[in-house]
Amino acid sequence: MAPSQAKYAPTLETFLKSLKGQPLEASIESLVFLLKRRQIKGAEQCATATARVLLQVVAKSRWTDVDQLLANVQKHGATLTQAAPRELVISNIVRRVLGLIRDEANEDRNAAGDEYGVDSVSDMGALPTPPEQPAPTSRPTPQPAGRPGPNPIKPGLGTHQSFISKSMFNLLSVVDPSDSTGTGSPVTGASTPVFQATSSATALRSEVIDGIEEIMDELSQADDQIAGFAEVQIHPGDYILAYQPSATVEKFLVRAASKRHFTVMIASGPQQRGVPEATYASLKKKLNAAGVKTIHIMTGSFSAYMPRVSKVVMGASAVLANGAIVTDGGSAVVARAAHEFSKPVIVLSGVYKLCPENSSEVEDPVELGDSSSYVSFADGPLVDGVEVENVVSELVPPELIDMYITNLGPHTRDHLDDILADHYKLEDIDLPLQ
């Protein structure tokens, strides 16, 4: 279970810290609880947590070949996805990791194919199976890894050079018994062949881990990279309306402020009972220090301000394939008002938030949240009979959005498909259905 910190509610940080000392299952379980309790929430946090846990899955779970690894990642990924179905980024990260594994495996196979042709003809003469089909051979034997089994072929291979055994690994890994890196226990007699096979798994493992670390780097740098496009989009004298500015939007504005003089209208979201009103004090301070004026607009409606606004900037918790975004409740009204007055709506989102789903596939266009933040629970007649619907996140239809800025640059709606194709493998797109 989660590391019970007696006084503090667990957060992403405590969770990440806890990862090291915990077995994998415990980590996953604790993340599931954290997600369900919304103690880890928001696209950024969920993405980071997912990436870190998948890294653990790759590093610690028992697997001996690519397919087992894929299955492991899919299984655990599905668990996380179900824990927070509204956080679409979770399955995005899972897809990214799956794609990464497939890529690495393919590279290995390809490399193996080359080697096969060049070096090992004589040695391999006895092995008829072409290396392109490792998957079918591996399927029928879902042998529990880690059990040392008699292996008729391995001993023979053991004498080969290591790079050949690498290629062989792909053919025969089915029966590879050792998966010791994660568990750390020398299960077998540690014979040479086993060791060599392991070393190849280790290679894949470390490559995948490197890949996941790259994804995590991408997550942490996305905001900065997005901010890099700020000065192009924001012009001197602009009035920028930022609805509930997220960290991404804040960075974007602050970066623009270093180059341009404009005015930011910060629209705080609906005020909530008991929750200290979001003041955006640090954002205001930074902007003001750079000579950018701020106007904090406290309202739930935006048509009135739109004639003055020149651009609307908003963050998203997910961007869907058709260009719709999932974002904070109230954003649809902002975007619609901007559209009414023909003001561009710019959505800032890391590529990792781009989902292959379409808006029709999203179960519910709105997410209802805690109603007690607006209606006192002591108010009998209200509690009794009125259905309070506090929408905390909603879908903004694609036609209201003019531009998407990701860490790769500014895009139009039509370009989203290409980015999707670059980042996800076709076979992983249906992931949440599994």
Binding site: P270, M298, T299, A332, V366, V375, L382, D384
Partner: protein, 469 residues
């Protein structure tokens, strides 16, 4: 200009007799007033210009007064802080009692300014202290007026006590929507008329408006920008006074004016509300889901009326999180047995609200000459969402709220800044303008053969009607 200057001696004398250093602003006040030969026929624009000039003068005066009498306001401040959030005394009966002291305060100009005993002081105004609260308004919105509490001691001494009290109530928003303000203004004017005595050598028809009525209007405008209905009513009252023959006996004229005001309240306010509620309730059918925005008294009446008639429908109230007036409506409807959905903010309106609803019914503060609706901020967003979803929008508005002269296509032309949130640190506009294309039908008390007409045709009829009066 000439008549105003000639008529000026009286007010000028009065201002100079005021204790605090008013010698500087007083001439400015009279000189800046661009009054035409016939003051009662001031056009809106001119009136505004005049008020503006006087406001500027008064502000300067207030500053000086404060500089000279700092101890008094600071002493009063903590008391007001403590009373923050306190309830206003209820209107009506309280008028007289609280105005007694104000009158005495106003008539003893040498004394330090006495604050009215009413609570409900807006915190930001107190915090504003010596500064002009308008100074904090972001420049791009600086053209928009804002309600302002002025100490009764700084009001023009010609302001009638009843009006003084009403002004405070308007500035603190305890008398709030356009019709309530109109009604109480007319009631206060009744008192002004009742206590009016034509000075010797003057005629009521020449004296009453410029020297008695106008100061009241100026004061009220200063407390809170006039609603369009108030402007309309004032125009009608002035037209009435103008029609009196110069020799009309005072009693007769006063009687006629009082009668006119009573009729006005009966016809244009009380009856109008009834008829509109009736018409709107007729539009509600069994099984409807009615979407409405915040609390509007016409909408509430219509919904309750429909319910009393045994209609079965559901209501979805969308509220403004910064001004939750819709909660009360939700509660009232619930207690009448209506199934109520309540959204604390506009989130989800596009995806759920307007799609579930079969009709949107909103109330308006005013309707402009181009047919666009001036309503509580957020009305526009809701109506646009409804139009997108193909849900019909019904707007309810009394004809007295129709403005025949002003045209507004966006919400920054005519609006008001929330005095509680009137700075860059916290800013909020109170109204917005919904373009006519998003309103399916406007329900007024005006009965036409087809039932309900678009706003444009009603305006045309109103123009004719009022020109005949």
């Amino acid at each position: 200009m000439a008549t105003e200057a000639e008529g000026a001696p009286l007010p000028a004398d009065e201002t100079s007799s005021r204790a605090t250093s008013s010698t500087v602003p007083a001439p400015a006040e009279t000189a800046a007033a661009p009054a035409p030969a016939n003051p009662p026929k001031l056009s809106n624009a001119e009136l505004k210009a005049k008020q503006k000039a006087e406001k500027a003068a008064r502000r300067a005066q207030a500053k000086e007064a404060k500089a000279s009498a700092t101890p008094a306001p600071t002493a009063a401040a903590p008391q007001q802080d403590g009373s923050k959030g306190g309830k206003q005394p209820s209107k009506g009966g309280k008028h007289e009692s609280s105005t007694q002291e104000q009158q005495s305060a106003a008539q003893r100009p040498g004394q330090p300014p006495r604050r009215p005993s009413m609570g409900g002081k807006r915190p930001s105004l107190v915090a504003g202290g010596e500064q002009d609260p308008r100074a904090a308004i972001p420049e791009c919105f600086s053209h928009i007026p804002m309600a302002k509490r002025i100490p009764t001691s700084q009001a023009n001494k010609d302001v009638h006590p009843a009006v003084l009290a009403l002004g405070q109530q308007m500035a603190t928003f305890s008398v709030r929507d356009s019709i309530a303000r109109l009604k109480y203004m007319l009631l206060a004017f009744r008192k002004v008329i009742e206590s009016y005595e034509t000075p010797k050598g003057n005629s009521l028809s020449r004296h009453f408006v410029p020297h008695v009525l106008n100061p009241q209007i100026e004061y009220l405008t200063e407390c809170r920008p006039m609603s369009f209905s108030m402007g309309n009513a004032i125009r009608l009252v002035k037209a009435k006074v103008n029609k009196f023959d110069i020799d009309t006996p005072e009693d007769e004229a006063k009687e006629a004016m009082l009668e006119m005001i009573d009729n006005f309240i009966n016809e244009r306010i009380t009856l109008a509300e009834l008829v509109i509620a009736r018409n709107a309730a007729d539009m509600i059918a069994d099984g409807d889901v009615i979407l409405t925005y915040r609390h509007h008294r016409l909408v509430e009446r219509a919904l309750r009326l429909a319910r009393r008639e045994g209609k079965h429908f559901e209501v979805h109230v969308v509220d403004d999180p910064f001004d939750q007036t819709g909660l009360q409506l939700a509660k009232v409807l619930r207690s009448e047995g209506v199934r109520v959905y309540y959204s604390p903010h506009l989130g989800g309106t596009h995806q759920v609200g307007v799609r579930r609803a079969s009709k949107v019914i909103v109330g308006g503060e005013a309707i402009f000459a181009n047919g666009s609706l001036y309503g509580a901020a957020g009305t526009c967003d809701l109506c646009i969402a409804a139009a997108d979803a193909g849900t019909p929008v019904v707007a309810l508005c009394e004809t007295i709220n129709f403005d025949r002269d002003r045209v507004s296509t966006d919400s920054l032309t005519y609006n008001e800044i929330d005095p509680e949130r009137g700075s860059g640190e916290a800013f909020r506009l109170m109204f917005d303008t919904t373009r006519e294309k998003y309103l399916t039908v406007v329900v007024t008390e005006y009965e036409s053969e087809t039932g309900n007409s678009p706003a444009q045709s009603i305006l045309a009829i109103l123009r004719k009607q009022e020109d005949q009066v």
